[in-house]
Amino acid sequence: MNLVFDPAWLPRLGQGVLLTVQLTLYCMGLGAVLGAVLGLVRVYGGGRWSPLYWVASAYIHFFRGTPLLVQLLGIYLGLPTAGILVGPFLAGLLAMTLNTAAYQAEYFRGAIQSVKSGQMMAARALGMSRAQAIGHVIMPQALRLIIPPWSNELIYMLKYSSIVSMTALRPETMDLFGVARSIAARNFRYFEVYILVALFYLAMVLILTVALRWVERRVRIPGLGTPGRGI
């Protein structure tokens, strides 16, 4: 078999990379905010019998238990029938944000719960309010503990962002894979284009992994997250 790669593909793929990166970073950022709120509600929202806890739990179960593709099409195709119009980029961003928020909520919950209970008690004993204790003592520790699972989630979402190619039809809203599909559909060089695009994704994963490891090392504190040096 002879393979054909055309350098003319690259500028368009580069455009796609830009959109993929945007989509991923936006959804991770927004998802972190929503996820942190949901995670806090699950831990501090008044226990199993409070309505707030129930709403948060139902949300998390629904978005973790159903396919992202169903969520995306429900938003992109379903919402307009209820009179709410959303473009492909916004639909993609919305679906990915709502989805990752549910996963991130669980990471936040886990991280918050793995902060030792004595920390809250010591903060309250100093005269801090609950909110102050959460803000100054619990969250700074939880945020460091959450970096490894959050990094995994970022890479998952980077890859999952390719599903917006199922909705975007115009070039300016195409993500990396959307661009690849449109190139391949024109020249029938499916294998070459898709292998190339796979390498693009691998490169992005590699860069993100290295960058996040660096961040993790930068903010590391002895005795937190890593096995402590003991006493």
């Binding site: 030792k116 309250r124 004993a125 100054h136 460091r144 002895p222 040096r229 003991g230 006493i231």
Partner: protein, 249 residues
């Protein structure tokens, strides 16, 4: 008037009543040592005083503020009562200096520079100024406990509660913590100390309180408690605990 008054305190966990009506009073400058077998409500008593544990019944006053009243801003009261935990509970993500400084800045709203000065002075007092930038995991247990005492001292407390401050320490580290506490008592700090360290109790306490089964069995000066206790059980416990932990540390 006493600095702290505890009146008929009750607390139950499920079916077990841990405190069955404890009453005591503490004057300013006094050091009270609470002793007794484990599981008899000593720690619960301390936690009920600043409502880290909510008592079921009974009242607590700090001067003329009723701590147990629903209308009292508990956070303001807690800022005036230091608490030293058995397992230190230093904030894991903060250096020794930041541990001592956090309460000053966030609860007492002190400006950063002033808080730093005060925190350094307290670290100096417990002999750890050189470790100001170390994280808790980089300190020995004894050092961690001394930082946690500095953290309590920095808030200018009217009273410090010590909940078995040396129980989690290796034997060779107990001395450094006790000597800080002894110095505090000599400086006139008001302290309630739950401990098994009989040497400390004997030499520093103004009053020893013997608790068992959720009630105060007997209280009095160390002299009275060690030489001529009124209740036979007190003498029995003191002999046993002195054998077990030694008396002269």
């Amino acid at each position: 008037m006493a600095l702290l008054r505890v009146e008929n305190l009750h607390k139950r966990y499920g079916h077990e009543e841990v405190l069955k009506g404890v009453t005591l009073a503490q004057d300013a400058g006094e050091t009270k040592v609470v002793i007794g077998p484990s599981g008899t409500g000593k720690s619960t008593l301390l936690r009920c005083i600043n409502r880290l544990t909510e008592p079921d019944q009974g009242r607590v006053w700090l001067e003329d503020t009723e701590i147990t009243s629903r209308r009292t801003d508990i956070n303001r009261v807690r800022a005036k009562i230091g608490f030293v935990f058995q397992d230190f509970n230093l904030f894991t993500h903060l250096t020794a200096l930041d541990n001592v400084r956090l309460g000053l800045m966030k609860v007492r709203r002190m400006p950063r520079a002033a808080a730093t000065g005060r925190a350094m002075a307290e670290l100096e007092r417990v002999g750890l100024a050189a470790k100001a930038n170390a994280y808790p995991a980089q300190l020995s247990g004894g050092q961690q406990q001394r930082v946690s005492i500095a953290r309590a001292l920095a808030m200018d407390p009217k009273l410090i509660l010590f909940d078995e401050p040396t129980s989690a320490l290796d034997p060779e580290l107990i001395g450094e913590v006790l000597s800080v506490m002894i110095q505090l008592a000599r400086d006139g700090m008001t302290m309630i100390v739950v401990t098994h360290e009989m040497g400390f109790a004997r030499s520093v306490a103004d009053e020893i309180v013997f608790m068992e089964g959720g009630v105060i069995v007997e209280q009095g000066t160390p002299d009275k408690m060690f030489r001529s206790p009124e209740v036979p059980r007190t003498g029995e416990f003191l002999r046993k605990i002195s054998d077990l932990y030694g008396e002269s540390r």
